[in-house]
Symmetry: C2
Subunit: 701 residues, 2 copies
C-alpha cells in the first residue's frame, strides 16, 4: 500500500453561489476542479527507492522479527525502524535509467530493537522477508526512547508511595499531577544503565502544566525494569500560579485581542505542484520528500530545471535535520542533566505532530501523512505530518525601475512565489516549526521557528529585587524562572552540485592596502579562494572572518569559465559557550563549528551519534572529522549548525511567540545567468476585487 | 490640502457574478464594501505635526523664497525641502494633550538651496510666511543632487565634440548612448568644487544599458557651471553584448519559465487597518508614516496597545534609514571614486519609485503618495510611493501541541498576520526594497531586499582562464565584470521605550566554569548586564561576543521587577573592510560599529552628515560620538548598521534576484507576558474552497 492511503474523495462543499463566481470569472470549470484530483494508490509498486516505509512494510518488518524472535516478543521493543536506503550509486543509477519496467531496488529495513537489556541492530530485506544481519551493539549510549516507555515511566510516580507522600506534604492533589520524562545525559559515569528522570507538574486546571513544576523531587526510572530506582524529595518551593497561563482559547476569558481580520488565498488555477507518491514537482523544482522517525522530513534528490540547458540539474542528494542539542544552563541538582540531544533521544520524526489545516498551514496547503513503528512494531500514523504549499507572501523575485532613459520610465517587477514544505516537531514543551522553501531562483531557504512553552524552574522569588544569587534564568512570572538554554540544529546537507564530485571553497574577503600611488584610494577588499583539501580545512566558525562558503563542482564550468556552485548564506552564527571538556559539550561536539565538511559516508547520518541517549561523544561528527579525510573533488556533505542562545524574557511566557532563524542555499555560478529572468509573474485573474485602493482617509473595519 | 489628495472614488468593477459570491457567502454587503470608504480631505487642517509637507506647502515655500530672492531666482536651486519638525517635547506634549480645538504646532520648513555657488540653509514659517533664518553654509560637502541637474549633466557629453569623436572612433552610434551621473567622493583634495563624473553606456536596443558600459572615458562636469570641465579617453575595451540582458517581458522571446500559478488574497472583512492622513492604526499598533525627500519613509510615534494595561505604550519616536554607504572595491582610474553615500548624495526619498500595484505589493495593498520639491521648488508627486498591507504569509504567531496530558491531545495555533509598510528606492542601477513590518506580538521587523542591476565594468576578458590579475570582481558574462562592493544601511532608531528616559543595556553571555564539586557539570553560561554610561560604552561590533542588546526603561518595571525594554535582534553582522584611514571610510565612518547609541539631538539625523556629497567625514555619527556624552537614563537613539559584502555571481546578472536581510526589534520584558496570548486567529470564512486537500497522487495544473 502506498504511504498516504486514505481513500479521500474530493470534497467540495462549495455553494452553488460561490460556484457561479468561479464559473463565470474563469470561463472554465476545468481550471477550478483540476487541482484536486486526489486518488488513492493501492498498488504495491514503489515509486521511488527512497520512499519511507509504508504501514504494510512496517507491519511486515514486525512480522519478520516476531517470527525470528518468537519466544521473546513480549520483551522486545522497537526503537528505530526505518528505510535502509540503497547505496547512493544504486540510487543514482536507478534515477538515470529507470523506466516503468525497471526492477525496483531492494527494500531493506534498518531496525534498532531492545531485548533482554541489549540493543540489537537488525537489517532485513522486505522482498525476501529475511533478516540479513542481527548484531548486538556493545558501545555506549542507547537508542531513541519510545513514546510508550516514556508514558509508562511518567505514570510510575503517581502510584509510588513516597511520591504520593511528597504531594500530600505539599498540600496538593495527586489527581492533578502530570509527569514528564527527561533523558539524563552523561557526566563522566563509568557505568550506565538505561534510566530516565521524571519531572512532575501540577496542572490544576491548566493545560500549561509546564509552568507549574514541582521542584526538588528526583525520580529516576530504570527503563529496562520499568521501575523507580531512586527517589528523593529535597526541598519545597511554591508551585507557581496558573493565573494567566492558559493558552487554550476555550478556557480564556475576555478581553481578547488584538483582533486580526481574515483573509483567504484563492488559487483559481489550482496549485502549481504535482505530488506523486513522495515525489514533488513544482515550477522548476523536483524533489523527493520522505519521513523518518528520527529525522522527520528528509528532502532528497532536489533538482532544478535549467531553462537554457533544457534539463534538470541536481542540487541536493539528501538534506535533513541531523541532530539538535538543547543544553540548559543551570548546573544545580534538579537541572544540570538537562542537556538534550532531541533527535537521537526523542526522535524528531516521532515528535512530529499533526498539522492543523488552516492554522499551521495556509488554506492552499496540501497535507501528507507519516508512519512509523511504535514500541511493539506496529505502524502508527501521524496524519498531516507535512504540508506543502505555495507561499504568496507578497515579496518580489526581482525588480527594477529605470528612469535614466530619456522619455520613458521602465518598471519591471516579478512576484515571488515559493514552495514550502512544513513540519512541526514538538519535543515536550518546545515546538520547532521547520520550513524547507524552494524558490524559482534556485535558492533553498531553510528556516526554523521556535515556539511552544519555556522550561521553567519553580523558585521562591516573586520579585527580581529579592534575587541575590545567579538563578540561571529570568524571573518571567512570580516563582517562575525561565532557565537559560541553547538550541542548536545541525543540518546534514549532502549537496551534489550538478554531480557528486564536489569541493568546498572558502572565498575570503580581505583588505588590501594601496601601497603605490596608482590610486587615490588607500584600501579596498578583494577575494582569495581556497579549496579545502581535507576535513580540517573546512571547519568554520562563522563571524570571525568574512567569507563566501561555496560547494563547488570544479569539473563543470560556466561558459565564461567559473566553476559552478551553490553557496551557504548562514543566518545564525551562534557558537556554543560550554567548555570543550564539559560532558554535554563532548556529546554535542558537532556544534563546535558552524560548518563542517565530510566525505560522503552512508553511515555518517547523525551528527550526535546513532545512540544519543547517554552517549559519550564517541560517534559524533567531531570524531569522524578527526580522521581528516580528503574532501577535494569528492562526494562531500556539508553540515551547518544553526544556533540560538535563549535568555528568556517575560514575553516568552506562558507561551512563546515564534522566534525564527534560517539559512539559504543559493546558486553561485550554477546558472549562466539569473534563472528567473524569463519567469513571468503569475497572471492576475482577480484583480478587480482589491484593486484601486488608495490611502486618503482610509477606514478599514 | 491633505497629502494624498487624489479625488478617487471607490472603484468597484466587481462583476455582478463575483458579487453574488460575496453576497451569499458572507450574508452581508456591509463587510464587503466597508473596506473601501476612501474619502478626500480638502481641509487645510493638519492632522499631525509630523505630516510631511503637502504640495501646497511646498509651493508656498517656493513662493516665500521666490519673493525673498526676487532677482536671483533663475539661478537658485532647491536641494532639500522638508519639514523642520517641532521639537520633541512639543510633539510629545501635543500628542498627549491635543483635541480637535488644540492650536496646531507651528509648521516650519527647512530648505537647502544653492545660489551663486553658495549653499543656503533657510528656515521659514508657513503660517507667518516669513523666513526665520537664512545662513550660508561654509563647511565641506554639498547637498543632495537634484534630478534635473543630473539629467542636464548626463546630456552634456552627447553634444561634446571630443566625446562624439570617441564614440565615432569606437564605431558606435551616438544616438544609442545614454549617460548617467556619479558622485566623485573625496580623496584628500584640499579644494573642491561641485562636480560630477559621467559614465556612458551603449543601449543599442536594450533597456539594460548598465551592462554595456563604455569604459575608459572620463567626463567631469562642473555643476555650478553645468559644463564639462575635464574630458579624456584613455582606452578602448569591447562593449559587452546585449545578448540575454533584456529584462523587459515585452522584449523577451520564448521559452519563458518557470511558470507560476496565480493566487489572490481575499479579505472578506476588508483590511484591518485605518489610515487617517498619515496616521495608521492596525491591530494593536498605531504609528505615523511620513515621507522625506532624503530619508524616504519615516516611521514616527509607534505605540502598541497593551491589553492588560489598557493603554497605548510608546516604542519608537522616529525610525528611518539615516544613510547608506556603497563603496566599490576597484581602485583603478575609472572606478576608485565609486564610494556612494546614497541618501545624502541622491536622496533616498527622491530615488523612491512608484510601486506597481499587484506586483510590488500584493492585491490587498493600499497605496500612499509622496511629494517633494524639485530643483525649481515646485512640488512633484511620486504616486504610490508607499504601500501598506496585511501580510498573510502562512506563518504561525505561536503554537503548541500538548500530548503529555493523559487522554487528550491539545493543539493550539495562532496564525501570524502582520502589517507591512513598503517602499522601493532605486538609486541608479540598484533597487532597495524597504519593509517595516509590525507584528501583533510587539516585534518590528525591518528588512531590505536588494535587487536591480549590478554595476559592471567592461573588460576584454571573455573567459576566466584569461584573467591573471585582480579584476576586482567576477566575470559574470563575456567582457563583463560584476565589481565587488558593499551595501551598508544605517538605521536611526529613536526608541522611546514607554517614555523618553531610556538606557542601553548590554547583557553578555559568558561561560562559567564549575570550580567546586557541587555539580556534575563543568561549565554553563550566564549573563552579565552592563548599562552603558557614555557613548563609548555603547559602540558594538557584532559577532565578537554573544550579547543581548536592549534599550531599556529603567524607571519602569514589570510586576516581578524586570526593567522594561526592547531588544535588537540583528540580522547582518557585517563590518567594513576598508582601512580606517581610507578616505571613503572616513566619510562612511558610521559603519565602523554595527551599533552606536547617542543622546537624542534633533540635529543629528544623518549618520553620514548633512552634506554628504564630497563630505570629509567631519559631520558623521562617528564624530558626534567622540564627545562621549552621557547616555544613561536619557532620551537616546540607537543606530544600527546592516551590511552586505557583495561579491557578485553570474545569477546576479543581468538583473539580480532579491537578496534580503533584516533585523528585529522585539519586546524584552516590555509586556508582563506574551501580548498575543489572547489573540484569536483570523476567522476562517472561506474554508471550503481549498480545504481537504491531501497528497496521494496529487496533480496540480
Amino acid at each position: 500500500m502506498a504511504p498516504t492511503l486514505k481513500k479521500l474523495l474530493p470534497v467540495f462543499p462549495l455553494s452553488i453561489l460561490s460556484f457561479c463566481f468561479f464559473f463565470f470569472l474563469f470561463h472554465s470549470t476545468q481550471s477550478i476542479f483540476s487541482f484536486s484530483r486526489i486518488s488513492s494508490h493501492t498498488t504495491h509498486h514503489h515509486h521511488h527507492p527512497l520512499d519511507p516505509l509504508t504501514p504494510s512494510e512496517l507491519n511486515i518488518t514486525r512480522s519478520i522479527i516476531l517470527t525470528s524472535y518468537a519466544g521473546s516478543i513480549p520483551n522486545l521493543t522497537f526503537h528505530y525502524v526505518g528505510l535502509d536506503e540503497p547505496d547512493k550509486p544504486d540510487i543514482l543509477s536507478w534515477l538515470s535509467n529507470h523506466t516503468s519496467t525497471t526492477k525496483p531496488l531492494p527494500r531493506r529495513v534498518f531496525v534498532i530493537a531492545r531485548l533482554n537489556k541489549q540493543t540489537h541492530e537488525i537489517i532485513l530485506d522486505l522482498s525476501t522477508k529475511l533478516i540479513i544481519s542481527d548484531q548486538i551493539y556493545s558501545g555506549h549510549g542507547y537508542p531513541i526512547l519510545t513514546l510508550e516507555e516514556q508514558t509508562a515511566a511518567s505514570e510510575l510516580p503517581l502510584t509510588h508511595p513516597p511520591f504520593m507522600e511528597s504531594i500530600k506534604a505539599r498540600g496538593l492533589n495527586i489527581s492533578e499531577v502530570v509527569c514528564s520524562t527527561y533523558t539524563v545525559g552523561w557526566f563522566g559515569e563509568r557505568k550506565s544503565s538505561r534510566v530516565l528522570k521524571i519531572q512532575c507538574f501540577y496542572t490544576n486546571g491548566t493545560a500549561n502544566f509546564y509552568v507549574r513544576p514541582l521542584e526538588g523531587i528526583t525520580v529516576v526510572v530504570d527503563l529496562d525494569e520499568m521501575k523507580i530506582k531512586e527517589y528523593y524529595d529535597r526541598l519545597k518551593v511554591p508551585v507557581p500560579t496558573t493565573e494567566d497561563t492558559e493558552y487554550r482559547l476555550s478556557k480564556q476569558k475576555p478581553p481578547f485581542g488584538p483582533r486580526l481580520n481574515s483573509a483567504t488565498i484563492l488559487q483559481p488555477e489550482g496549485p502549481g505542484f504535482v505530488i506523486e507518491g513522495h515525489s514533488i514537482r513544482w515550477a522548476n523544482w523536483a524533489f523527493h520528500l520522505g519521513f523518518d522517525v528520527r529525522a522527520g522530513p528528509i528532502i532528497s534528490l532536489a533538482s532544478i530545471y535549467d531553462l537554457e540547458k533544457q534539463k534538470y540539474r541536481r542540487v541536493l542528494y539528501r538534506a535533513y535535520v541531523s541532530e539538535l542539542f538543547v543544553p540548559y544552563m543551570d548546573p544545580t541538582e534538579d537541572w544540570y542533566f538537562k542537556t538534550f540531544i532531541d533527535a537521537g533521544e526523542f526522535g524528531f520524526g516521532q515528535s512530529a505532530v499533526s498539522l492543523k489545516p488552516m492554522e499551521d498551514c495556509p488554506a492552499q496547503a496540501v497535507f501528507m501523512d507519516g508512519y512509523y513503528a511504535r514500541q511493539d512494531g506496529k505502524s502508527v500514523q501521524i496524519s498531516n505530518v507535512f504540508c506543502i504549499f505555495e507561499q504568496y507572501a507578497g515579496n518580489v523575485m526581482w525588480r527594477h525601475t529605470e528612469s535614466d532613459i530619456p522619455g520613458e520610465v521602465i518598471t519591471e517587477v516579478r512576484q515571488e512565489v515559493s514552495l514550502v514544505v512544513r513540519s512541526v516537531s514538538t519535543v515536550g514543551n518546545y515546538d520547532y516549526m521547520m520550513d524547507w522553501e524552494f524558490k524559482p531562483s534556485g535558492s533553498i531557504k531553510v528556516s526554523v521557528g521556535l515556539t511552544g512553552i519555556l522550561e521553567v524552574k519553580g523558585m521562591s522569588y516573586t520579585h527580581a529585587d529579592q534575587i541575590k544569587e545567579d538563578v540561571h534564568g529570568t524571573l518571567v512570572a512570580e516563582n517562575t524562572i525561565g532557565v537559560y538554554h541553547d538550541h542548536f540544529l545541525s543540518y546534514h546537507l549532502d549537496l551534489d552540485v550538478d554531480g557528486e564530485a564536489n569541493s568546498f571553497v572558502k572565498t575570503s574577503l580581505e583588505t588590501r592596502r594601496v601601497t603605490d600611488n596608482v590610486s587615490p584610494r588607500r584600501s579596498y577588499w578583494t577575494t582569495t579562494s581556497e579549496t579545502a583539501k581535507t576535513e580540517s580545512e573546512a571547519r568554520i566558525r562563522l563571524g570571525l572572518k568574512p567569507a563566501d562558503l561555496v560547494v563547488s563542482n570544479q569539473n563543470k564550468k560556466t561558459k565564461v569559465g567559473n566553476p559552478i556552485g551553490y553557496r551557504l548564506i548562514p543566518g545564525s552564527m551562534t557558537s556554543p559557550l560550554l567548555s570543550d571538556d564539559d560532558y554535554p559539550q563532548i556529546r554535542g561536539a558537532f556544534t563546535k563549528y558552524n560548518v563542517w565538511v565530510t566525505p560522503y559516508n552512508k553511515s555518517e547520518k547523525w551528527a550526535g551519534g546513532l545512540y544519543a541517549d547517554q552517549s559519550r561523544g564517541e560517534d559524533t561528527l567531531a570524531m569522524w572529522s578527526l580522521r581528516n579525510r580528503e574532501i577535494e573533488n569528492k562526494d562531500i556533505v556539508m553540515w551547518y549548525t544553526m544556533g540560538f542562545h535563549h535568555a528568556p524574557y517575560q514575553e516568552d511566557f506562558p507561551i512563546m511567540p515564534t522566534l525564527s532563524s534560517g539559512f539559504e542555499l543559493r546558486p553561485a555560478n550554477f546558472f549562466e545567468r539569473n534563472p528567473v529572468l524569463k519567469t513571468k509573474s503569475p497572471e492576475i485573474l482577480v484583480n478587480s476585487i482589491n484593486h484601486n485602493r488608495r490611502a486618503g482617509a482610509f477606514h478599514g473595519v
